[in-house]
Subunit: 446 residues, 3 copies
């Protein structure tokens, strides 16, 4: 018996060594370290929380963004948003809403009652003289409602009201104000959800991926491939190119004005990006390219705008709202300015009959599975170091650097909140019952 | 491009800062640190294991308490309890019971055979001469059977037989012995499971919460709110107060006699606790309060007694038996002294037709969801530091301090036992099959 | 109130102290430390990947072995195996196979295209001029196809082609070559999958246990007990002994020739192992033992051979292929030399009608549950230290030491691969959908 460890093989070059030709070398990676740290999202930003119709008068809903549980309540039309975690024993107020006055929300468990405006603890139902009353409270979140959507400014507890930026600073650039700066010859100025008479129609659903993985897929020009067999592509007789390649250094414009949104605009379907029509190695050749022209841009905290899509005068917005480090809420919203009831009805009809099945599902479902396919590689953090990016990844890399510079804060890992403890037996029980992790709080049924 | 990190906001007072007016300041928290450490329960205590009818003659069942797997077997009426983990390769004896003699249990895998009385390894079926025989064994646990319940003294491996305390030391105080010390004008002396002719009827089920969270809910006087819409309350036309407030320093009496149970007694429905009938801030006023009078007490290792509930001459016991750090077995037991078969039959009928649907389920189901609602906040340990307690939390705080002083040991986190490794693929497979984590061992079907 | 911690009990001898009479004392354990470290398997070995019929011409399948995702493709009959993780963003190529030429596989997401032979990145569909092309690639794995099975040499990235050993070095010893060395009087020389005209019929399935736990069960002579009630045993009127005991120091022969397989051979049903027919302590006595004679051996990386089982001229092979640290692929394969179509047809018929239901399921299902029953004890690593082995465990102990000496490398824990992050929300969602962790990649449905 040989007790010595035998020499079994020679050393050799690693077959899959990470190439020093990759775009994202260590120096470049250093420029977006804050982004790599933002697994739980960027905080102190405006995020979509609900569609207006999801929160009727007197309604209460609980959600979670960037690891922060948030309860929304609508009273006399006005919407309030507060931290959805009682200061007493930490239960979610929204799990069993108890609102005894128009200006308060009470905890269903021990009756701790909070002022909707200030978040202050104003009384305890069965303990009205306690010295804690008036001396604590829960964080409140500024709310804006525009075009059928409710936005919440998700902030750290010590972020002061007077520094809350306007909603517009976390939404895509607007037209016609930006038409001179971002002209495009092929379509009229894009609408905005902030426009008068804007109508936003859309869907949102929970994806089991980190929000950054999802976001980068949104404006990635190099994955046209996954869409080539989509029903809408075939129905419209579109012929897609193999891909799009940047042809000049200014193929992407940074958006970083002091008081506006921070993001990037990609000059797609201009001479700054060329369609790839042939791959000789593989014997591929595309002829007679035709399809929809569009332009994508993305701004912090992760809002995509696809102009001229899926039809003229319509814009598609997307958000990838962090719930935890591996759950995000995927928002797909079409915006159009409708000045009459007839226009609104017609837009809604086309949304329901064409765009939901063929675009928001159909087409974008491919993006969902592509994001999921990346999750395992990035889940333990190694993907961010090991990925080998190429020239066409200029878009995500530009975004990562920009987001690292301009975000208003990196969200801390969730503490004591839903899905933060991934192995809890309650979570397991819900899985056994067929209930997957969710953006919404599970309401208690008495 | 601005390379410097911009100053984006001022510092301000935290909106939800933990108030220094909270009852549980750091000094107070220090007085119950052992309790905070007892995620896996207190060991060297008596716990209910099974109802007598769950273990018929020759029956074998496997359960888990405080992270310790335990197998019970009944032979000629006598019950034995042993560590349910073979010394050889660690499988659970109870998974596929193999009992070849009246005084032994054998492992179904390799035939390791243990003496029921001593736990010693007495033979190995296919290896009867091995030198390990007689030189190792598994821990045994003292057993008591009373009134239809089987209790096990769950101990550390080195806890000597001669120091095992009587069962009564881990059960609520008894009457009429304690009538002078704990008189109550509104009802006759409460029965005890230790009384002659006591009958215990109840249910038990697994909850996905830490046992302490569950236990504190049991004797919490400040959560009357969650019960106000219960069917039994409405059916009985009870009118509940908003809450109960302690009105004197001796609203709670400590029970810490040298040789008896250690716990606390709450003088509910005496002049030491006042009903809260009004909350001006919220415009709430309760009139014509009426309902059942009751008194709650709790003793180590977590046994609640509700006297005069749900009817006169009946007492409700509850246990919150730790299985792991986030699973507990919830026991709800009604005890009555029944001196004749007729009384027993009548009690059983009323139990089945009224108390199971309206109280043990109905009413107490609200407690189950309230406990679950707290779990996320406490699951990662931060809840114990961040909770902001108030005057009415005198009950849990008194309990925590008392339990810290008088427990007989803090259970170590489970090693190599069911649900200790929460992410094991076997656990995952069971979830995919719709089986949630359980108190009972899953029996092998050949 | 007593502020001092009371002295509550004496110290005593632990009832279940680990005995110093156990076979695996600390010194012995030190001799198989590498084995204890090999939770993710041994790397740089040949493993079965698929049955030939699972990979038809042009077929693509994704699997995982030793934490390494592997994609297999068959072109013009030849099989290629590559690392199933795109160098770009880490998605699995096999999730949505895209093969545009006979010598390449392309990533369905961004078109990264790899040479099947070398693994080199040869082009990017939409970015054919990128500088990364030709400068990176994915590891390739040598493949052998024998008798209806596809074997892959699962290696570290830097393991050179010229050092890849022949498949035979990771398969059981062959006959008649070894007949002189390993004679057995009771049956003819066993067939081998490497024999001309060998036919391998079998099944494989995923078990939720560590591969070592599974493997040790395969050649464990001390667990005859679990099989005593099996249908095949009863149908054949076999009378099994209580167990088998080694009677001489050479009851097990080591196989460690320099250029051949490394393993051990157990001289079962010779005078080196005696059947145990009686256990006086338990009053057990077996008379008229009769049954099949067989002999087991095991070689690295974990391949069992059961000669003369389940019938003459047939051999049963088993593999316990590591997927992760708690998932393995269980292979059960019967091999027979069939020289004519008639023989093949007859063997297949008997396989389908008798051996699948009665042996590969039936009989071996008991081994599956036995392995699972051990998993909890070993899952957190404590089982390897706490187990108390006995004389009959000479088989696993010999195997552990041998595997520690002769393995070609210890697999590193999986990074960025399926089931490596056990708590990912995608995994949870799949569980909620009833899908358990698997050996195969989940294919994307467009």
């Amino acid at each position: 018996m040989n007790e010595a460890t035998p020499i079994r093989r020679r050393q050799t070059v690693r077959l899959n060594e990470i190439s020093d030709k990759r775009m994202n070398d260590q120096k470049l990676q250093g420029q977006y370290q804050p982004y790599k740290d933002a697994a739980w999202g960027f905080i102190n930003h405006w995020y979509p929380a609900l569609f207006s119709e999801e929160l009727p008068e007197e309604g209460v809903e609980g959600i979670q963004i960037c690891g922060i549980p948030i309860v929304l309540r609508r009273v006399d039309g006005k919407i309030y948003a507060l931290k959805d975690q009682c200061v007493h024993r930490g239960v979610r107020l929204s799990a069993k809403p108890m609102c005894l006055t128009k200006k308060s929300i009470s905890c269903w468990y021990h009756g701790f009652t909070f002022d909707l405006e200030s978040g202050r603890l104003t009384t305890i139902i069965a303990n009205p003289g306690d010295k804690l009353i008036g001396n604590t409270g829960i964080t409140t979140y500024p709310v804006e409602e525009k075009g059928g959507m409710i936005f919440v400014f998700v902030r750290e507890d010590d972020f002061p009201n007077e520094d809350v930026p306007p909603l517009a600073s976390d939404l895509p650039v607007r037209f016609p104000d930006s038409s001179e700066r971002f002209p495009h010859p092929l379509w009229p100025a894009s609408p905005s959800i902030l426009d008068e008479d804007a109508v936003a129609l859309g869907i949102h659903r929970t994806g089991e991926t980190n929000w950054r993985i999802a976001c980068e897929n949104g404006f990635d020009n190099a994955h046209i491939l996954v869409h080539k067999d989509n029903t809408i592509v075939q129905a419209m007789n579109w012929v897609l190119p193999l891909g799009l390649l940047p042809t000049s250094d200014d193929a992407i414009t940074l958006i970083e004005d002091e008081n506006g949104p921070k993001g990037l605009m990609q000059w797609l379907f201009t001479d700054k990006w060329a369609p790839v029509l042939e791959n000789e190695e593989l014997g591929l050749k595309v002829e007679g390219v035709n399809g929809r022209f569009y332009r994508t841009s993305v701004v912090l905290p992760g809002c995509l705008m696809v102009e001229n899509w899926p039809e003229e005068h319509v814009v598609q917005y997307e958000w990838y709202v962090p719930i935890t480090d591996d759950l995000y809420e995927y928002w797909e919203v079409l915006v159009k300015v409708c000045r009459t009831d007839e226009e609104r009805t017609k837009f809604k009809y086309r949304f329901d009959r064409v765009y939901v099945p063929l675009c928001l599902n159909g087409f974008n479902d491919c993006d969902l599975y592509a994001r999921e396919a990346m999750e395992e590689f990035y889940a333990d953090g190694t993907g961010w170091d090991d990925e080998q990016l190429v020239a066409t990844d200029v878009s995500p890399v530009t975004w990562r650097k920009l987001a690292s510079r301009w975000n208003r804060g990196i969200a801390k890992p969730g503490r004591g909140v839903t899905n933060a403890t991934k192995t809890s037996s309650i979570r397991m029980r819900r899985l056994a019952e067929g209930k997957k992790p969710s953006y919404f709080v599970e309401k208690i049924e008495d």
